[in-house]
């Protein structure tokens, strides 16, 4: 093809390229718009399906509320549901220490973080969190350890799981009868639950 022929075809070629680009852009953009509308429709259809299901189950819902609302309130009062009740935990520690005649407890509470085993429990719309508490205290024998945690549990100041405990015989164990022989370092997780998106709630 000669230069003159190329020159003669430059205009139509340019037009073709421009039309191709414009057509491609128009098709792409309109396709994107169509896809967006399709997505919105699917979302809206899902919402309608959920709304219908919720409507159909409204009778069951009423029965569930009647069945569970009192237990839920109790869990709220105990501190399992809602914000952390750290003052209640410390009060419970103090009470448990007194009841089991221990020699005082040093504590250290870490920052709150998501409960790492939440997925195993399939919590749904409930967000589970934990705060790790390290306890350092002295006991006469290993039975005190178990009694202490039973006493702490009995305070009903929340829900905790004991994760780790280490007991060590003290070197200065003397002949006194009520002198602590063991030091215990334990870690427990205070677990709290927060419901998300309380849709349909009618407080």
């Amino acid at each position: 093809m000669t230069g003159a022929e190329l020159k003669a075809l430059r205009g139509p070629l340019l037009v073709l390229v421009l039309v191709l680009a414009a057509a491609g852009a128009a098709i792409y953009y309109s396709n994107v718009l169509r896809g967006q509308s399709q997505t919105v429709l699917v979302q809206q259809q899902n919402q309608l399906r959920e709304a219908r299901t919720r409507m159909q189950r409204s009778g069951d819902e009423k029965a569930i509320i009647v069945q569970y609302v009192d237990k839920y309130r109790q869990l709220e009062n105990s501190g399992f549901i809602g914000d952390e009740q750290r003052i209640n935990w410390l009060a419970a520690l103090r009470n448990a220490n007194e009841r089991t005649d221990l020699f005082g407890i040093n504590y250290e509470i870490a920052i709150q973080q998501p409960y790492p085993y939440a997925a195993d429990l399939n919590p749904g719309q409930i967000s589970l969190k934990q705060s790790l508490m390290k306890l350092d205290f002295r006991i006469l024998h290993e039975g005190d350890l178990l009694r202490f945690f039973d006493a702490l549990r009995a305070q009903n100041s929340g829900l905790f799981h004991l994760e780790r405990c280490v007991m060590r015989r003290t070197e200065d164990g003397g002949p006194l009868r009520y002198q602590p022989n063991l030091t215990a370092v334990c870690q427990l997780a205070w677990i709290t639950a927060t419901p998300e998106a309380p849709s349909g709630a009618r407080p």
Partner: protein, 518 residues
């Protein structure tokens, strides 16, 4: 339909017309002289860039029907090129077209070779077209376009002789089985007085010529069709019929009706008839060389590019339109579904007025309560671990514990500093040591009354480990430290001067892993 400039050149004049919307317009006749060419220049200059198609009505024409071995592609092209150079070496205006295959066993190709042997006749006119920037689409011999007229006439005769009285002579074109075989232009006297005789003579001469060419014998009947664009050949028709020939007279009105042409234009020039046929259908036998039609090739390419652009634009618009239409329909459906959702939600809100007061949704109430129950029931306490250790120690009175660690986490108890390990956070999900949480612990103890007897101390420790292993709650027990490590994998140093009795304790460490609760 694309605009064209049509030009019919004969020895004494040229007829031009513009083809617009399938009809001839602006017909004009120019003398075949310098003045005529100059007038045509003005005419062509007002034709924009419409492609020009030229037919030539000349005596200097040649037709040959040749049979060549069947070939395709470049072989055929080379063969045709050789033949054209052989037949028409001096003429640039020549062409060959395949008209069929031979009925013989070899099925050879049959070609019609045609040429205009007087190039000077068309060169001035083509120069004007080039000067005016009009692309030349092709140059054709006049008989080539008359095939369209035979179709329009609907003549079924196997031997058809089309006779037309032109200003320069009598044009006789022979068709056999509706296929062109030959044509000749006779410069006979076409004055009214001698015309009848001249026509009959030329018909007879043509028949003799056909006989000589073995195209049609004299015995075969030939149907003559007399084209009378000026309605002045009635007597000629009768004369032909009196000569015992079948003759059909086609007058101006019939021609105008057949070809859908204005009768007034036919009166202007008989060439208008052929321009109409050329405009309607461009024949395949283009005589013009590539250098003449190069502009038309560019024109065609440009045109094809514009058509492609238009097609792309139409596709783009149609596709986008479909998408937008679909989007509009989807939006309408979405609005409809939204309204339905709002209605159902309103009904639900109405229904919830009957519900007891609750701090959260029913699902959350149920889930939170179940989670609390599950967490309480799945809590693992260290009692079981302590009982296992105590049971084992009962049968090993020579061993006392100095440290005892327990954990319920993923992975096993670490064998580092036990007390420091209590503050370690639980490993995140997916940490090494297994995916499931399990109870494990580390006991650190001493063998009493050791007195340097490593063999006995190790035996006591192994016995304790064995007792632990036998416990049904235990999954695994590992001795991670002995008073003396005799493993061949590490170096061992000491002195025989050491007094064994001075060492009265032998420390050891055991890791215990409990089975998963069922």
């Amino acid at each position: 339909m694309a605009n064209k400039l049509l030009l019919c050149i004969s020895a004494n004049q040229a007829t031009a017309a513009r083809w617009r919307s399938g009809r001839l317009t602006d017909c004009a006749v120019f003398d075949n002289s310098e003045a005529g060419v100059a007038e045509f220049r003005d005419y062509a200059a007002t034709s924009g860039n419409a492609p020009a198609f030229v037919i030539v009505d000349a005596v200097e024409e040649d037709y040959r029907i040749e049979t060549l071995p069947h070939a395709t592609g470049s072989d055929r092209a080379q063969m045709i090129d050789r033949k054209l150079r052989q037949y028409y070496r001096g003429s640039p205006y020549s062409a060959a077209s395949l008209i069929g295959r031979d009925s013989s066993k070899r099925r050879d190709d049959r070609f019609l070779f045609s040429a205009l042997t007087n190039a000077e006749m068309v060169d001035p006119w083509l120069a004007v077209l080039t000067e005016c920037g009009l692309p030349v689409g092709g140059v054709y011999l006049l008989p080539m376009v008359t095939a369209g007229l035979v179709e329009a006439l609907g003549e079924k005769a196997s031997n058809l002789l089309l006779v037309a009285v032109q200003p320069v002579g009598i044009r006789l074109t022979f068709f056999r089985a509706n296929a062109f075989r030959l044509s000749r232009l006779s410069r006979s006297d076409t004055d009214t007085s001698a015309r009848d005789k001249a026509v009959i003579d030329e018909i007879s001469n043509t028949r003799l010529y056909l006989h000589a060419l073995r195209a049609a014998t004299l015995d075969e009947p030939v149907s003559v069709v007399l084209l009378d664009h000026a309605d002045e050949l009635g007597e000629t028709t009768r004369a032909i019929r009196e000569a015992n020939l079948q003759c059909t007279h086609v007058g101006r009105a019939a021609l105008a009706s057949l070809l859908k042409i204005d009768p007034e234009l036919l009166a202007l020039s008989p060439s208008v008839l052929y321009l109409q046929l050329l405009g309607a259908r461009v024949p395949s036998n283009n005589l013009a060389p590539v250098r003449v039609t190069a502009g038309y090739q560019r024109y065609q390419t440009r045109r094809q590019l514009f058509i492609a652009s238009a097609a792309v634009a139409v596709i783009g618009i149609a596709w986008s339109g479909y998408n937008l239409g679909d989007r509009y329909a989807l939006q309408n459906r979405t609005e409809d579904v939204t309204r339905q959702t709002a209605r159902v939600n309103a009904d639900y809100q109405q229904a919830t007025l009957q519900f007891p007061s609750a701090p959260t949704s029913a699902e959350n109430l149920r889930k939170a309560t179940e989670l609390a129950d599950r967490l309480r029931t799945t809590e693992v306490r260290p009692q079981g671990f302590l009982e296992v250790v105590m049971r084992a120690l009962e049968s090993s009175p020579d061993i006392t514990l100095t440290e005892l660690g327990w954990q319920y986490r993923k992975g096993e108890f670490e064998t580092g500093t036990v007390a420091a390990g209590a503050a370690n956070p639980a490993p995140a999900s997916g940490a090494p040591g297994g995916d499931l949480r399990k109870q494990s612990g580390l006991i650190t103890g001493q063998v009493q009354d050791f007195r340097g007897d490593f063999r006995k101390a190790i035996a006591s420790i192994n016995m304790l480990a064995e007792h632990l292993r036998k416990d049904p709650a235990v999954e695994d027990v590992r001795v991670v430290q002995l008073p003396l490590d005799v493993s061949p994998k590490i170096a061992l140093t000491g002195s025989t001067t050491d007094v064994p009795s001075q060492a009265n304790t032998a420390e050891f460490k055991l890791v215990i892993v409990l089975k998963q609760p069922t």
